[in-house]
Symmetry: C2
Subunit: 303 residues, 2 copies
């Protein structure tokens, strides 16, 4: 089944202890779309400026991401610049230039309004709700958000959360959103407002999936060399929803395998800058790492 993603397409300047990327392709919708494209067809709704070249577009074209919803607006493309310290755990933002993204009003092409799977990447929750109004045919809706929206538009965000099936957030965001420092209680507080499932991303510590009254915990893949964590959360979401969409009408929604698929994509994402690793990724590498996740986590019962 197809997935529609709405979010940002950006030019990132990123510095880590292992190198630097200057004005490289980034943004939540980009990272999501490329990761998801290994599993299911992807449609992208976003905005770029007049400075966005064919070369910038190429990684998305190569992955056959449908760019029928990528608007070119007067002005410059959204730019973000950040730096990571030795532990690669969190970025220090050096500069943000919203540019054309500041007046982004997503319009979903008419033909895409019944896309079955919808991912609302991190944008203004009022815009996320507006997109959800447009894609009235979606059977599975997931959303991400960030501390900025939790601070500035909590009511709009909670209204959106009540309408979605899966919320994907990091641990800090789950705590901030609910005021609960304990993640089990934070997830319960979010699920009480509507979503079937809450996925809490913990970076190098892996992911927790709260689905009904069951919890699934998956460690991150232990890597001996990481280059750039930018986009890991969006690549996770891409693998997660990409896997679910690939199951077609299978309504059992195995969120566990989806979380492994997401973690596979995130583990490759961080091995290089921008989309460099995912651009050379193969299906057999994906299957191989999925199996390695089994070896990483398996143990025999007692007795």
């Amino acid at each position: 089944m197809s997935i529609l993603v709405v979010g940002s397409v950006a030019l990132d300047t990123v510095k880590t202890p292992f190198g630097e990327g200057r004005e490289v392709l980034g943004g939540s919708a980009t990272h999501f779309a490329v990761a998801a494209s290994f599993w299911s067809p992807v449609r992208l709704v976003a905005v770029v400026g007049e400075d966005f070249t064919d070369a910038h577009r190429q990684p998305l074209v190569d992955r056959a991401v449908n760019l029928g919803g990528l608007t070119v607006a007067k002005g410059r493309t959204f730019r973000w610049s950040g730096e990571y310290g030795d532990d690669l755990n969190s970025a220090r933002t050096l500069d943000t230039q919203l540019n054309v993204f500041a007046s982004f009003k997503p319009v979903v092409p008419e033909a895409w309004r019944r896309t079955p799977v919808l991912f609302l990447a991190n944008i203004d929750p009022e815009l996320q709700a507006d997109v959800l109004d447009q894609v009235h045919g979606a059977r599975l809706v997931a959303a991400d958000t960030m501390n900025y929206w939790i601070d500035s538009k909590p009511e709009a965000l909670w209204r959106l959360i009540a309408r979605i099936h899966v919320l994907l957030v990091n641990d800090g965001e789950a705590r901030q959103l609910t005021g609960e420092s304990n993640l089990v209680r934070a997830a319960a507080a979010i699920r009480a407002r509507g979503p079937r499932a809450v996925v809490i991303k913990r970076g190098e510590h892996g992911v927790l999936v709260f689905d009904g009254d069951r919890i699934f915990a998956l460690p991150a893949f232990p890597l001996s060399a990481l280059k750039d964590p930018t986009g890991a959360g969006d690549a996770f979401a891409g693998g997660f929803l990409g896997y679910l969409a690939s199951r077609g009408d299978d309504v059992s929604l195995d969120l566990r395998r989806a979380a492994v698929a997401g973690s596979v994509m995130a583990s490759y994402q961080v091995e290089d800058f921008s989309l460099d690793r995912l651009r050379r990724l193969t299906q057999s590498e994906i299957l191989e790492r999925f199996a390695q996740f089994g070896d990483l986590t398996r143990f025999e019962p007692l007795g």
Copy 2:
């Protein structure tokens, strides 16, 4: 098989957002011994002061821990006082009174010198080495340490590490010890100096076991209510080595199941202050949570 533990027995005063314990029984050897006692017979070598009462001794006696190596020295028992913030991740030490622990020179009773499994809890690495000299019959030797010894006696610590089979440390200690921020590389650097396995404890994020060229990652058990994290690392070590000792002459050393056993004990340890939860713990609760760890981590292969 029997386990011998050498470490501290202390009276702790602990404050967390969920309550307070005043002069309650604590110390690395205590927490280790009580947790391990659910799996295998335990012999304890430590020192206490003249103020250490029968009531203090009772939790160890109730668990049939052999106190034939618990010396009473002139003076007061080791005291530690600390406070945890909202996230319970790290303690702020308010006061440390070494008292009789300052001149602790562990002497292993003659009859215990061929104990097959030895745990060197966090004490001066020169004393750990001295105990290892005494327990010449040990077939499995594991050790813990802390930032203080990594700072002050790195050479003695590395000499000890070269002589043991398993090092158990937390993530910060592994990084500090090796100067490697990446845990995969940190574990490899430690294993290169001798130990078969390195177990990296990550608190609420679980544990990594580096055993030969394979890695096992286990999340911590997600708890909706934690009261006091004091002793979690030692309870983990107790379950870990207790399980291995319980296998008798089985030399396959399933460090994966051992890590689950350790995590089961740690997950109960943090549910209440001091030894309160482990004192009322049952074997069937242990089996139940071991099985729950399976449910928490299991996923189906792709396809």
